[in-house]
Symmetry: C2
Subunit: 132 residues, 2 copies
């Protein structure tokens, strides 16, 4: 069956990366059509960097690449799930997962929310050594 | 430590729900400040429905609520992870997870991508019976 991916107004779709070995959700980033294609063709996770405005192979700088075993598309085709074998840690902070902070409390206003968090994730590399 | 959630220009942040029992990523939706607060206060996952333009308690119609054990915030504070105990299936199609389709092939253009998919997920309820 053919499914057209529903990219947003910026031409991107959120892509969640989950480590197939640990089951941990390691990051959420955004993929462009080219990123989805490159991920499929190379077997390495590609995203689109919204800050650098360019195609981005995860781990190109740090070496912490993601070998993609499978890509899933959701019911509305507006989100992707990359099932990956993560080398090193996924997060630029040195943590295994970008989701290393647990929310203890929330204070919301109409336009924002402040959370009180505690660190719960494991640091698996030193970012100062990896990103020189 | 206090962390301000980085809501996007629409005042929303993507929230990934992962079933803590199975480890399965079951859905991706969007949360408003109020949704984050209600999730924390009630222990039930809340989102903001972009199509209905309103706060939405997951499972309010279907009964397939998500009991939230923990909320995580990522390194850039622009994505959330809800660790949930999912009742029934998360997907309105009757599947356990919205990510029930596996991508076999990708054809991309500058502005879009068509994928060839196969169903791999399990259907755990009949949507015609649940959404009358």
């Amino acid at each position: 069956m053919d499914v057209d991916i529903a990219f947003d107004q910026d031409g991107l779709v959120p892509a969640v990366a989950q480590d197939v070995t640990t089951g941990e959700v390691v990051m959420l980033a955004y993929a462009s059509p080219e990123a989805v294609e490159q991920t499929h063709e190379t077997g390495l996770a590609h995203y689109y960097s919204r800050s650098r405005e360019e195609l981005w192979q995860k781990g190109a700088t740090s070496g912490n690449v993601q070998h993609v075993e499978e890509v899933r598309v959701d019911c509305d085709a507006d989100a992707l799930l990359y099932l990956v074998d993560q080398e090193g840690g996924a997060c630029h902070t040195g943590h295994e997962s970008c989701f290393y902070r647990s929310v203890e409390d929330v204070e919301a206003t109409e336009t924002g929310a402040t959370t009180e968090v505690t660190d719960v994730g494991e640091r698996v590399f030193d970012p100062d050594e990896v990103y020189e």
